[in-house]
């Protein structure tokens, strides 16, 4: 392990995130990290999902629809969606101070907005639908993992939705547009662009960009991310179907991909 870390650091030192057409973890440019999805992992929540994306470990829970508090924040025509993205203090190398910071406030906001187009909120006037995403272990791409988990958890909670939402990031490392940056790549990369999408309609419901891209790279990255969202959607759907296709409750869905350093 240590040896690998050292090698990795050395490569980073030399600004070599790509070698012989492969990335440090052995992936190709357009390859996702391994994904694992488990549905209905929490007993208390109305819906839940555990989601792994490479080294990211994320759990999402949905409560509601329930009575909205405070009352003045109720919407007489539709349910209010509350979304809380939170990183566990131990989810990162340097302990993160508990509680919401500005980053998590922003991530929560854009994640909530990524779901508003699909949740049929008009079914529950005045009520609240609460989505909680906890990042247990982080390795870049946590918001996308959180959205993927929340999507499955919302379905599991029986919330009426027009579609599932799938999410992934693209970025740029060593001048190359690549899919799904891991932590090292993100730290030393030139750009990071998370998107969320409704796979059926190709509708983008989250789009952020951080770093530096040319307009051409942006267009290419967007296409790449959209394609990957469709792959992730298939995995989300498979996990949900599988849950009730076997007689036992709880289901797992995994995608292979290259094993990296485990």
């Amino acid at each position: 392990m240590n040896e690998e870390r050292e090698k990795e650091e050395e490569a980073v030192e030399k600004r070599e995130l790509i070698k012989d057409g492969k990335r440090l973890d052995g992936r190709g440019f357009e390859e996702l990290r391994p994904i694992k999805i488990e549905v209905g992992v929490l007993k208390r929540a109305d819906g839940s999902c555990y989601f792994e994306l490479g080294e990211n470990k994320v759990i999402a829970a949905v409560y509601g629809p329930k009575e909205m508090h405070p009352r003045h924040a109720q919407d007489a025509k539709m349910a209010v969606v509350k979304f809380r993205y939170n990183m566990a203090p131990f989810s990162v190398d340097d302990r993160k101070r508990p509680g919401p910071d500005r980053r998590s406030v922003e991530v929560s906001k854009v994640s909530r907005e990524a779901f508003e187009p699909v949740i049929m909120r008009e079914f529950y006037p005045k009520a609240a639908i609460e989505v909680y995403v906890e990042i247990l272990q982080s390795d870049a791409g946590t918001r996308t993992a959180g959205i993927n988990a929340a999507s499955v958890a919302l379905a599991d909670a029986g919330i009426p939705m027009k579609d599932l939402v799938s999410s992934v990031a693209v970025g740029k490392i060593d001048g190359q547009v690549v899919l799904d940056l891991n932590g090292t790549e993100d730290n030393h990369g030139e750009a990071d662009m998370p998107i969320a999408m409704v796979a059926r309609t190709n509708t983008i419901t989250l789009l952020q960009m951080d770093g530096h891209l040319t307009a051409e790279e942006f267009g290419r990255g967007l296409k790449l991310a959209m394609g990957a969202c469709r792959q992730i959607y298939e995995l989300q759907r498979a996990a949900l179907i599988e849950r009730f296709s076997s007689s036992n409750s709880g289901s797992k869905s995994e995608k292979g991909g290259n094993k990296n350093g485990t």
């Binding site: 406030v105 906001k109 983008i204 789009l207 960009m209 040319t214 307009a215 942006f218 296409k223």
Partner: protein, 269 residues
């Protein structure tokens, strides 16, 4: 309740106008409101700018302080961006801890400055690992007429261009080869090497229009802010609102954003 119903009527009115190819204030879909930029308006600040876009009114102040660098970037200065939607600017703004709108506003502006590497942070290092300049960008919204992001981002880069490093105040020598000195001021300019400009487009009734005013913002399901640089490259992006966008819409918004940013840069920076 009365207010809510009013809002809804207005939303429908604005949306219907847009659907028929018109805007409330008679602008074209690719047309900004009138912009004004006034620099150096806050005397106590190291740099400042007041930007008006239509009746949106934003004041940005830049203050510099000496402090410790982040451990992972010991030879770089620090940027801290903050936005306050003070209650005087809108009946919808409340006092209290920052709400997600103001957090998002600050972070998007910050993203543009950072992503474009507008400030040469290495030149803000005083003593590696010990002392660096900390650049505080404080965004103060005075009147919310819509599209605060573009006004704040333009205010931020304008204020940075206006800012001087207060070497004298801290008893520090001005580093050799720094930006030109100006008469009566011992400090030199901040090392600014890029001028990121944010342009927000909104989608209403399936139509894309630039620089939404406050009523258009309320009627819009989705907005996209695109921050671009002098060479047409991108250094930040943020979708907001509860709607979705198609790929061709995104590309149209990006193209429009880059084009408008060029015009703004030419006229105001």
């Amino acid at each position: 309740m009365g207010l809510e119903i009013m809002d809804e009527i207005k939303q429908n009115y604005v949306a219907n106008l847009v659907a028929s190819g018109k805007r409330e204030d008679g602008r074209g879909f690719r047309e900004f409101r009138e912009i004004s930029v006034e620099r150096g308006v806050a005397e106590r600040a190291e740099g400042s700018a007041r930007v008006k876009i239509g009746d949106s009114d934003v004041l940005v102040g830049v203050k510099l302080d000496v402090g410790a660098p982040f451990p992972d970037t010991p030879n770089k200065g620090v940027i801290i961006t903050n936005a306050e939607l003070v209650p005087l600017a809108s009946p919808e703004f409340e006092s209290g801890p920052p709400r997600e709108d103001s957090v998002q506003l600050a972070r998007v502006v910050d993203r543009g400055i950072r992503g474009s590497e507008a400030i040469d942070l290495e030149r803000l290092c005083i003593e590696e690992g010990e002392k660096v300049w900390i650049v505080f960008i404080d965004i103060h919204i005075l009147d919310n007429g819509g599209n605060l992001v573009d006004a704040a981002a333009l205010g931020a880069i304008s204020a940075l261009l206006n800012a001087r490093i207060p070497f004298e105040k801290w008893g520090l020598p001005a580093p050799a080869g720094e930006g030109e000195e100006e008469e009566g001021r011992e400090s030199s300019r901040l090392p600014i090497r890029e001028t990121p400009v944010a342009v927000t487009t909104a989608k209403i009734e399936g139509k894309i229009l630039v620089d939404p005013n406050v009523n258009e913002e309320n009627a819009a399901t989705t907005k996209l802010t695109v921050i671009s640089n002098a060479d047409g490259s991108l250094s930040g992006m943020q979708k907001s609102g509860s709607g979705g966008l198609k790929e061709d819409e995104v590309l149209e918004m990006v193209e429009l954003g880059i084009e408008k940013a060029g015009e703004i840069r030419e006229n105001f920076l």
